[in-house]
């Protein structure tokens, strides 16, 4: 296996009494798209800035291309960064912006102009070299920022929540563009975001970060279908969280009851003991909805519910219902066939889910979750 492009070994960073990054170790393979996903304040920006070289870790080491980066300044690292606010230089033209890094390396002017024009064409901005930065739209500026970094052919490209400032349609469009750019250039991308949809769509591997630690590291599919901790289950994708107490554990299936008296079954993850406090998670699309009990798959526990509100979102429509006896709020994704398009608020329906597709964790002891 070739040397990973990025490797972190037990990296720690503390700020005034609180630990922003807590003994993180991970590696990123060459040519892959790695995302760090986490809520605000989890330490991902601190981690990125340590990789870029703007902050030095208190403990541990960061290796890029197999070489330790300890004590190496940001302008000497084979890393380039696309900043959250893009940081394009307003006092230079677009072409000069893209050629800036080349000029620092002493590349002669004619070659600089050629390379910068070629790169602009590759990102779809052919001939824009002479324009001023403020003449471009948000998406175009985004592409200039990426071009400016990629023209230097870095080992690693860091992206700090680059799509945050864009509107929805443009963001969706740029997600696809970024994925295609990464595949075309083959550069290793390290992408940080708090938007789990971006992380899932773009990445080969994702690290879910919370309070300075990785809760889980894996492919988007692993994170979605096999979350390792309650935090990951709740953070990645929509999920119904059912807190309760385990009544019985039998062959890997936990029978748990909520405070309001609703009893469900879910597959156990981790050490779940009878009588312990637990949290179960069921994905909205894992549950089946039916008007009559007979329509539900046989052999599964089923429940009755009253429709509380209909959340129409085109193909992502969902229904919020309350379980009949316990009044526990549950969300179910509506099938895309439009079969339940005529559902009314207040209607009684039946639903159920396969316990194997639900996960149940021991409830987190401290406030972490």
């Amino acid at each position: 296996m070739s040397t990973p492009d990025l490797e972190a070994r037990a990296v720690v960073k503390r700020f005034a009494g609180h630990t922003a990054v807590d003994a993180l170790s991970f590696s990123v393979a060459r040519g892959s798209f790695f995302s760090i996903l986490g809520p605000s304040g989890c330490g991902k920006t601190t981690l990125l800035r340590m990789i870029a070289g703007f902050i030095a870790p208190d403990e541990g080491d960061i290796l890029i291309g197999g070489n330790s980066m300890a004590g190496i300044a940001p302008n000497r690292r084979p890393v380039n960064m696309v900043f959250q606010q893009l940081a394009l230089f307003p006092m230079m033209s677009v072409g000069e912006n893209v050629a800036f890094g080349l000029a620092r390396r002493g590349v002669p002017k004619a070659e600089r102009v050629k390379k910068s024009a070629a790169m602009l064409e590759r990102v779809g901005l052919a001939g824009a070299g002479h324009k001023a930065v403020d003449q471009l739209s948000g998406g175009q500026r985004q592409r200039v920022a990426i071009a400016r970094s990629l023209v230097l052919e870095p080992t690693l490209l860091l992206l700090d929540e680059p799509l945050g400032a864009l509107d929805l349609k443009l963001r969706e469009h740029m997600k696809i563009e970024l994925k295609q750019l990464q595949a075309a250039f083959g550069t290793t991308f390290v992408y940080i975001t708090h938007d789990q949809s971006e992380a899932l769509v773009l990445s080969d591997h994702v690290g879910v970060m919370n309070r300075g630690r990785f809760e889980q590291l894996g492919t988007p599919q692993e994170l979605y279908y096999s979350p390792a901790t309650p935090f990951v289950a709740g953070f990645v994708g929509a999920n119904n969280k059912i807190p309760g107490r385990a009544q019985r554990v039998d062959g890997g299936i936990v029978r748990l009851g909520t405070d309001q008296g609703w009893v469900v079954h879910a597959a156990a993850r981790g050490a779940v003991a009878a009588g312990a406090a637990v949290e179960a998670f069921v994905r909205p699309e894992a549950a089946t909805l039916a008007r009559a009990v007979e329509e539900l798959p046989p052999g599964q526990p089923h429940y009755a519910g009253v429709v509380e509100s209909l959340l129409f979102d085109g193909a992502n429509s969902a229904v919020l219902l309350r379980e009949a006896a316990s009044r526990f709020e549950f969300r179910i994704a509506l099938p895309q066939t439009g079969r339940f398009a005529d559902l009314k608020v207040g209607e009684t329906v039946h639903f159920g889910f396969d316990p194997q597709r639900a996960v149940c964790f021991p409830a987190p002891g401290d406030a972490r979750a």
Binding site: A52, F54, A73, P74, N75, V79, N80, M81, F83, Q84, Q85, A87, F89, P90, M91, M92, F100, G101, R104, R105, R148, S149, L152
Partner: protein, 280 residues
């Protein structure tokens, strides 16, 4: 309605600026031929160009003002950078107040303070003798360097303020991006910081230059008879020699010089006056 709102400004402009200038202009264009008898002539201006002393002092004043402006810029830039970028919150405000404190006392008192420090029987020469660097107290006043020190000290705040305002608007991520792309400290300064701060630098330089050129007190007190500052010549004509015509001519020449040098400076650095005033 608009006329009513503009009236105070117009009255001020007319009465306190335009009319006195017109009056002085007329004064400078006449020559006394007999008691109480004047005729229109350019004699006053001719005297200026004919007598070497006057235009040599003129040139000297311009050169020293330019040097003083440059020195003020070189000293004020690190201070402004520290206030705007390196310090946060209270420390930053504190340093700005420290720059401001000397201006709580009048220019006269400030300049006299320098005289106490630098005169032969003053603090600094005494210190030099105590340290063994000189045998007897040296007279540090009445030199060109002394005048420069006084001028820079007096102008510092007027350079720091526009610079701080300019530098504060510089986004830190631009500097980080430049480092990330391989630039060193000097390149960042040359290619990012100075172009961004250019309006502030220009505004500061214009203000400081104009103030220094027209400064009477500081060169006079610190330079004494050696000061050879053009404002002193104007004073002499008006007050010592009662030659108001000559004094008025000198005054206008100084105005022309000031305007020309500012215009030349703006052209040289590729700035435009309106742009500078708007962005600083």
């Amino acid at each position: 309605m608009l006329g009513l709102l503009l009236a105070p400004a117009l009255v001020w402009l007319l009465a306190l600026i335009i009319l006195p200038h017109v009056d002085l202009a007329l004064l400078s264009l006449r020559e006394r031929v007999a008691p109480d008898e004047f005729k229109l002539s350019l004699a006053q201006y001719r005297t200026f160009f004919a007598e070497p002393l006057y235009w040599q002092i003129f040139v000297r004043t311009a050169v020293m003002s330019a040097i003083s402006t440059l020195l003020t810029l070189l000293i004020a830039f690190p201070i402004a950078w520290t206030i705007a970028k390196l310090l946060r919150g209270r420390a930053s405000a504190l340093l700005l107040v420290v720059c401001l404190i000397p201006f709580w006392v009048s220019e006269t008192v400030r300049t006299l303070g320098w005289m106490i420090l630098l005169r032969e029987s003053g603090v600094l020469p005494g210190l030099l003798v105590r340290l063994g660097l000189t045998d007897v107290p040296v007279e540090l006043l009445y030199r060109d360097a002394t005048i420069l020190v006084g001028l820079v000290y007096t102008s510092l705040l007027f350079m720091v303020v526009p610079l701080v305002s300019s530098l504060e608007s510089l986004d830190n991520s631009l500097i980080e991006a430049a480092y990330d792309l391989g630039a060193g400290g000097l390149t960042v300064l040359r290619k990012i910081v100075i172009p961004h701060a250019a309006p502030g630098i220009t505004a500061g330089c214009i203000v400081v230059f104009m103030m220094t050129l027209g400064n009477y007190l500081t060169p006079n007190l610190l330079g004494g008879k050696n000061s050879q500052w053009f404002t002193e010549q104007i004073y002499n004509q008006f007050i010592t020699r009662f030659n108001w015509e000559q004094g008025a001519a000198f005054g206008f020449l100084l105005l022309v010089l000031s305007t020309t040098m500012v215009w030349a400076g703006l052209r040289l650095t590729g700035q435009r006056f309106g742009e500078v005033m708007r962005r600083s």
